[in-house]
Assembly symmetry: C2
Homo-oligomer: 265 residues x 2
């Protein structure tokens, strides 16, 4: 059974302030909780219906500190869903990027001022798909542990590391790293489809409304844009959604890598 | 001033039943209404604040049947937004695909059972970006004129034609059209990056949860998939969001077209 205190504690984690204070976040639903447990995330608390507990008696790598059986009705008191889905877990916020992470040989994403939780979640999901391990966000980007973002990562939050940094400070040393490129996606620049792209580097994406902050421009050595196809129409969509643009850019980087790996065989 | 009857009439259009009956839909906000008017869409009614009316006294191609000046407070009574944005318009639903439209020389999209209004809106927007003029949806795909979908097209609803059809019936004659391919996006098939792609044809996208309906498979002559990059991880994201996958596939079709046009010069 869930005590009043537990309910209060869980609901407090819907606010960023308390999440940061406690270093904890909420994940809900069968699939998401399962993926987090399978990836070895530490669950401070699992609140689950008897149905879930029966079908998930043990998890090979699961670290569950406390587990409480709850009724559907109790779950409703802590869930953000209209229809709660069997299980809600409280997990420890992991550190994101650590000093030991060497980005030099890989492709990473930098997000500047992304405000929409759904967009951030979608970007985490596609980074997972395209094998991008690290995302570095500006400090004013929406919180990864916002319940809406957590849900929209569809479990990829368990596999992609997300850190928050002062971006100018973060990018400056990488901009001096030999043979390492910092790409930025703009509305003008080099055509993504023909620009030279390496299979390592940093891709900077800005917000839809403001683009990439001017203070970051000096660190970007390749401006890319995604060409629109007008078919003779006078006007076309003004822009693409930022998560869409990120997906298209990442796909093109990985396509090049795929093609060059298969040509050099 | 807005009469009670007008308010009731406008709010009734938030339901699909009444939209279909009247052949009308709601578009809100400065940018969206402006784009619709500029593209020549017929506005049965424009409800706007004095601020909007002052700055938009005439539209070169605008067909506005009735125009009412309203207060911010009145706008609040008909708006779907928390903060109404100066103007709300009632527009005539256009016919979508007509018999006269010849798809043979172009690239078109077919959407099977897309339930999420935001996904449909995002797909309309990217179709606009990539110069795809026609989208044909299964009859059980979410309504294009749902206010949420209309808003998420970001104005592209004015430029892309969307029709609802029985898809098997629609695809069957195209599957017999010489030199014309019907592509389908699956989790398995030919690698998108290396599969032969033409700059004309039909791309079929299915829902995230159910994929493309089995009854449509016989009409698809090229199964495509977007390769994931695991970097040695055991698991990766299970899938991409359907609008994301559509964007990546359309981008690759247009990239090929771009490259072949520039090689043949």
């Amino acid at each position: 059974m869930l005590s009043k205190n537990k309910i209060k504690f869980i609901n407090s984690l819907k606010k960023k302030k308390y999440r940061s204070e406690k270093g904890l976040f909420i994940a809900e639903g069968f699939k998401l909780v399962q993926e987090l447990l399978e990836e070895g995330a530490e669950a401070t608390l699992i609140c689950a219906t008897s149905q879930w507990l029966e079908h998930n008696p043990s998890h090979a790598r699961a670290k569950i500190i406390e587990q409480i059986e709850v009724t559907e009705q109790e779950l409703g008191k802590i869930s953000s869903f209209k229809t709660p889905q069997q299980v809600l877990g409280i997990f420890a916020i992991s550190g994101g990027l650590s000093e030991a992470d060497d980005l030099a040989g890989q492709l990473s994403l930098v997000l500047d001022r992304i405000n929409d939780p759904g967009n951030l979640g979608t970007i985490v999901r596609l980074a997972d798909w395209f094998g991008i391990e690290n995302i570095i966000c500006s400090t004013d980007t929406v919180d990864l542990y916002n319940p809406k973002t957590v849900q929209s990562t569809m479990g990829s939050i368990a596999r992609v590391k997300v850190a928050y940094r002062e971006l100018a400070e973060f990018l400056e040393p990488w901009s001096r790293h030999p043979g390492f490129d910092i790409y930025g996606c703009f509305l003008e620049g080099e055509n993504l489809y023909t620009a030279p792209l390496q299979n390592k580097g940093i891709i900077v994406m800005g917000s839809e409304s403001h683009g990439i902050s001017r203070e970051l421009w000096p660190y970007i050595n390749q401006q890319l844009y995604i060409p629109a196809f007008t078919r003779g129409k006078a006007t076309t969509a003004e822009s693409l959604n930022v998560s869409m643009a990120t997906g298209i850019v990442c796909s093109e980087f990985r396509r090049r890598q795929w093609v060059s790996a298969n040509h050099s065989k």
